[in-house]
Assembly symmetry: D2
């Protein structure tokens, strides 16, 4: 097994020219695509339709090339798009491919990828025990698909779950949902899904992976989960990325927790983990080794950062997620010398409270030496 | 002469409790206040009234203590407030005081501060030659007031000029203004004022300090100018901060240009200039030496940052200034370990195009050692 | 007793020139001011400081003229400002004065006004039984002050209650508040206060004026309550306006419920109640009789209006209150030929669900004839 | 010739279920579709991708049914979508079909529709003479296609022209474009296109249909033009709708100018022109006769409405177009008892300054009687 990861710039949410060209040039075999993760132009909130737009365009492109209906592509391949490219961030998407026909050397670990889907979720399931449990089960399947046994080898678990508009919530029975506010329901969904990941990986004891911890006990978290929600899906889609000796190839992955929004040191340490030498900015030459970076972050719930007040949670004009994505994204971009980052807000139970996750897929150090 | 700089947190735009307490405790002599610069809760655009609100409250407090009408305080003391505390930024204000009754040792340079005002400006003057010229003249006066002869000793020139609402523009004759768009007129005013600073300091030849360079020739810029505009003033208020052997005290100042929004290296280098040892984040103990930091920044005009597209200039929901303040503010905060930064957008002709200025006032290294 | 109501345009939130001139010209006796209600330039959400700014400026003006400290004026006089002048709406404020030294003819009812305040409320009280009960009590006091016995003679009860920032909520114990979301807590406060009004006026039975009806049972509502919340107050301020034979003067008041956002017919009917003849727009001459108009409205909770979907509750860029104020405000303005309307969102339990209240103070028909 | 117009609700920008069902039930023959106009969920500004998303989905549906590539459908059929359903407005689209195989009675005029396209326009053409002239020419072609000779029989000319992102503007040479601001360039394009319509219909003399009148001489306008701009087209697409005795069918069209944002009387008069009896609200039964309503509006340029200030042009948080669409849309909706209205901002040279256009397609009065 061998995983590859290619990143493409996105001029607008229908711009699939990057992948098209890569397919045309045989850089990517469309039949081997297992997942796509990206950052689109919308606001990243309930009424962001850029995620669905790109999903449609990519699934049609892939479907046309592998002669499968686009709907079928969407059922097979998780398309995980987060809207909101605030500040310096740049719209892009990352294509994961898996080639089963390779023989690993068994000497060193390489990037391993596995995907799985939960059954369909209704508005009533969001934030509830069922979402926790089916997510945990699907994470286990995705690990198995990736050939990873040891949870310590899992460095990134992306979950994309459903968001619902007010119309959906009303149809399902607003009073019986975890909340009748569509934006807040997205938060419940991210929280329960993250607890599901933590449960599957044994990061928290079973008695904390319960519905009553959702958005309440923030000491219960997963250090590798990254959860987004969008109106364009109805199941939790799971992508597990980690390391395995049964996989080969030039790529590796690592992750760290950011302790808070100013935790630049963890970003730098993570770059070092990958054999990069940030000073503190990664050089342009080394930055070319980065294939994808995934960041989760959130506005600190107590209204302060390192003792000083912030105003993100009181702002009626700009949503807190847009604020924090722009801020943390800039810090990570300044270190990595790269603005095409997947930075997603809403980090409930995904890393330490007020902090979050950063995971990077990069070419292994030797590969880099050869290039530089 | 001896300058002091104290920074206070701002709970809401009427919160003058910090200065009040400092006066009550004789930490600040209200009669010695020469300028106040700060960052308030509003959007930093035309309809931001938090700047005027804080100006009123501070001028009333100071007026009450020195037994002078608040209006008179406002005429004497520049109050330069920029709205917009996006992302991690924290609302605050910085009070500059000057004590004339001290004898400098003459051995080392210390922070020197001088202020001056231009005559009143009408909407018709904004972005025009008159604004350039009266600003240049006032900068010269402020330098003289600060006892600075050599332009190289000037590290920061804050200008606060007038903004006008549509009503003002219409009353003045919209067709004869540089633009009839109130938000865009703010940009013209910042640009002309910056060229005025550059002219005064000899940063650009006289033939570039002309109205026809305004918002056109971005190679003409000042590397120490920081210009804001607000509806609450009608003149250009000038604050010059630099270094002089005729001043004494524990404070120093330095500045650097940021070349673009990701130029974290210049922030770190500047911290080093001040004797701090960022690694790359300044330690909490060292961060206490920072008395104020001033940043100007802007969304790169060609729509890219280091070759990758950004979306700040196409966004109909969040103004480009709010985007870039949040991004650059976070990078600077991550290095300085300090979120109470004056970060202001609209850096037209204030530093390299797409980049901007960063200036820091800090306790001299020795003072820090004593503390640490 | 005789009530007068004067309305002034507001150029910016510190513009008190209208009242100042009226005092200078003896049109208004500042000692007789009992309440001020207005619409300011901010967003009307948690981080709207224009309400406090105008409160400060007006209280200082009045205090200076009656030789009482501004703080004391703010304790005596309710200043009820709602931010947000979306669409055609125009910033303004309405000054209520009461002259006790007049003898009513007893022949016809005239505008009667009474005010009262509750004790201070903490974040923990918001949305709770205590807020319902102290509001109900204060409404009773305000009616007594207005000399109104019959609840049917009450046409408008304005309540201004406290809003809290995240900092306040955290300090009070976020987990024990009705919600830890500052914006949502404003909704709880409006809801409980409205139920308090309904309880005082006997509009709902006592068993519905309970904490468990707050934001749950929307059939429980007051048809005359209008509730706003803002960070600048800590008590519920109550203004009761109605009709009484013990009052004299040229003014009258009437109200109607709007059944939904498109209920233009109720607006027209109300104009007719006041002796205006809308066709359907009130003529310019007749519009001069209007002294003040108060509207409460909200985005219909089921996401539809008359069977067609609206999108206000899914919008991450513009708050639902800003949407609905702009829409309903325009409809009322088109009928009344007047854009200086107090239109306030968040009509929880204030009129029928999805609809709201409209109350108008106008010169009695005869007075108008004399003028026209 | 016979024109039909069907309107469909839009759950999200990819929701083409309405048209699909109409095709499946043979209510609409997809081969006869000549134009689609609609209102989508986005912000209606430069970064609104919901227009392109719906265009893609509809063109694919139609293409699949008539066995033509979607790209070819987009070349043949104008898809004119305006983003922004502020306030009470409801997302929807209106499908125009033309059946050439009918024999008119010649007794009465019926709805006639014609379309035409200009050649491709570059950023450099926008707001310039070329855009005026090619638009005028295409309007003439569309009239000919509609069989309308007399300009008085033209009641609605929809133009959809290109918008460009900053990237496009920079590539074309920002300094040589009418403006380098993408949002402002949309205004230049709407203005020049409207002058092109006015030129074609003889509404203004040739010497006013000149580039130097664009955004300068607002007395030069078309009373039937409605112009939108979006990044998803590169030509000006023209749809002419009017009345002709050479067409048959149950539909008619009429239009009026709104003189300003409060001109409800013109809306009511127009409803009367169509045989509806607004009182002032059209009854539910009569409202069913309305097939489509098109409104152009804008924030009055002098910052006032009927003498009172508005704040739409100073707002840094909500674009002026979003404000005015929400306000004028609500007024029209309240009269028509219908919220699925095409309300579009940016009415430069489209109706009187500060006002705009309203055009309605409805079933003829007799048809209505039969129904009611």
């Amino acid at each position: 097994m061998r995983a590859d990861v290619q990143r493409f710039s996105l001029k607008d949410p229908s711009d699939v020219s990057g992948l098209r060209e890569a397919i045309d040039k045989s850089i990517i075999d469309p039949a081997k695509i297992v997942a796509v993760i990206g950052k689109t132009h919308g606001n990243g909130l309930v009424n962001d339709y850029t995620r669905g737009y790109l999903t449609l365009c990519l699934s049609q492109l892939i479907g046309a090339r592998i002669e499968v209906p686009a709907e079928e592509v969407r059922r097979r391949v998780p398309f995980v798009f987060s809207g909101g490219v605030e500040g310096v961030l740049s719209p892009h998407y990352v294509v994961f491919t898996v080639d089963p026909n390779t023989t690993p050397t068994g000497e060193e670990k390489s990037l391993a990828v596995g995907v799985a889907l939960t059954p369909e979720l209704s508005p009533l399931d969001i934030g509830r025990q069922r979402q926790i449990d089916v997510t945990a089960e699907a994470v286990g399947q995705a690990m198995a698909n990736a050939g990873i046994q040891n949870p310590d080898d899992v460095h990134f678990v992306q979950v994309k779950g459903p968001a619902f508009t007010l119309e959906d919530v009303v149809a399902a029975g607003a009073a019986t949902c975890a909340t009748d506010n569509p934006g807040k329901l997205m938060g419940f969904g991210r929280a329960a899904s993250a607890l599901g990941v933590a449960k599957a990986l044994g990061e928290i004891p079973a008695n904390l992976a319960m519905e009553n911890a959702v958005l309440r006990n923030f000491r219960a978290y997963s250090s590798v989960a990254s959860v987004s929600a969008g109106v364009e899906v109805r199941v939790n889609e799971i992508i597990v990325a980690g390391l395995s000796r049964t996989w080969s190839g030039p790529l590796t992955i690592a992750h760290r927790s950011m302790q808070d929004a100013l935790d630049i040191n963890s970003v730098i340490a993570l770059a070092g983990d990958l054999g990069l030498s940030p000073a503190p900015q990664v050089s342009i030459a080394q930055a070319r080794r980065i294939r994808a970076a995934f960041v989760k972050c959130e506005a600190q719930r107590d209204g302060t950062i390192r003792g000083r007040p912030h105003t993100m949670l009181n702002d009626g004009d700009i949503d807190q997620q847009r604020h924090i994505r722009g801020a943390v994204g800039a810090i990570v971009a300044a270190v990595l010398n790269d603005t095409a980052l997947f930075v997603s807000g809403g980090a409930e139970h995904q890393g330490p409270d007020g902090g979050g996750l950063i995971a990077i897929i990069a070419e292994k150090a030797r590969a880099s030496n050869a290039v530089a």
